[in-house]
Symmetry: C2
Subunit: 287 residues, 2 copies
């Protein structure tokens, strides 16, 4: 099964498909500017996944700022990205002892070569390993059937549309209770739960958590709304460095109103720690 | 009681203490730049309340952008603000049909007159009255005793520290079940619930909701942590124009870890609509 296979061919953090596809290259002579190539491997139909884009921007900030790890990242999505050349312009806003603050924008080029802004981000970075160890929590991990009882790509009618490149790169196993939409029987509840890993077995790190928070099918699918729900704003808090092993992710929508819906994600690691929380405001699919 | 008094002396939206104290003045010859005076009336000890500051920045963006109402506002708090002169620099990032996107920074002046950045914001603005009317929600309003059974300033031992100017400007009535901290008996739960209004009876509007999401005593108090919990990041989604009348607000902390805690706020109006959702990441009080 998936887990056993993964154990025989684990990609390492820093040497994996995800790392190569989110790599950024400092532009000579322009401090804080990074060139990048948006991979076609992380697309849904033709749209590049918003979590993948956030991880790439997060990697640029990780290089530009004095601290290595994202702690809180607020992203506004302006225009849809496509596979191909891109650049990230970063700015150090403030450098502190515990946290540094930066801004970054992802751009692509229009037909005339002019830069078009895709996403703008303000972020706080820190060193997750240096934070105090105290935890007080009432949060509980999502209730999810065992990995082998959840639905992956190979389980009959694809729970994720087959034309999406990103599904090849994720080891996503949906809770059958939240996968009804895939067989035309959505639960009507704004909930989705899944086991999450990268297909090549690379473990999670703070940068890949920025992908994880936006990598499940939209909750709108389980609400019976099968259109595209483009992200308007996405804020992610990284609460802890994730332990090795598969993640559990729940996403929840409680309120669709005025043509928008919120989607709250929680990401839990194998050590039962809440490693990331995010909320996005998305445009509701047109019905 | 408070409600009856308020009915006899209601301040109007646009002509109230809150409106005057969040006013911004366009600086002649510098488009997008607004001068302001941070009022001493919205302080906790000497710190200016983060929600008040956000409302003032939100008002500047409301003037600078083509759309009037905040829809989603992401704010990073960089340095503490003090009462006195300030300015807001705004930038129109992108103008769209339904939403426009802007950035704003609040600055104050150091001893040499140099600008010091206090808060940086990226925001989407729209026209809340033009949005589709459809609502699908599973969210429920906070369970709260009637207004007259909740605790205000006049109810014996002040549930809010008496040295705080802001308490004079709010009509805040805490659920007794979440006010134990005020008598040295915190519940231990990261929850706070209250009725919320402005003391002069001014009704809520989208700009004052930016105050409301950060106006309750911190959840950390009920967790037995009585120090200051400075906001690092605060994102607010305004989901609906609020109906007249008092608001109900709940704030919840589920996870304190690594020296940070999240605080989720929900604001409900008198028509039982979820009008605002916010989450902030704050530094946990040092213990």
């Amino acid at each position: 099964m998936g887990q056993a296979e993964a154990l025989t061919a684990l990609a390492a953090i820093g040497d994996s498909e995800f790392d190569r596809d989110t790599a950024v290259t400092p532009r000579p002579g322009e401090p804080g500017v990074y060139d990048a190539e948006l991979s076609a491997g992380w697309t849904i139909i033709t749209a590049v996944n918003g979590g993948y884009l956030l991880a790439l921007i997060g990697r640029a900030l990780s290089q530009a700022l004095p601290h290595p790890d994202p702690v809180t990242v607020s992203a506004h999505y302006l225009t849809p990205s496509t596979a191909g050349p891109a650049l990230v312009r970063t700015e150090l806003i403030k450098s502190g002892r515990t946290l540094s603050t930066g801004q970054a924008s992802l751009y692509q080029y229009d037909d005339s070569g002019a830069e078009v802004e895709r996403i703008r981000v303000i972020a706080r970075y820190g060193d997750l390993d240096s934070l105090p160890a105290d935890v007080r929590t009432t949060a509980t991990a999502p209730s999810l059937p065992p990995y082998d009882h959840c639905l992956g790509r190979e389980d009959g009618p694809a729970p994720i549309p087959g034309s999406s490149e990103i599904t090849e790169r994720l080891d996503l196993r949906l809770d059958p209770a939240t996968a009804g939409w895939a067989i035309g029987a959505p639960s009507g509840k704004g909930e989705m739960r899944a086991w999450f890993g990268l297909a090549d077995g690379r473990d999670a790190d703070p940068i890949s958590l920025l992908l994880a928070v936006d990598a499940l099918p939209p909750t709108a699918f389980e609400m019976g709304l099968l259109g595209w729900a483009p992200t308007v704003e996405l804020t992610t808090h990284i609460r802890c460095r994730p332990a090795p092993g598969p993640l559990r992710i729940s996403i929840t929508t409680r309120n669709l109103a005025g043509g928008f819906l919120e989607e709250d994600a929680e990401v839990w690691d194998s050590a039962d720690r809440l490693v990331a929380q995010s909320r996005q405001l998305a445009a509701a699919p047109r019905t």
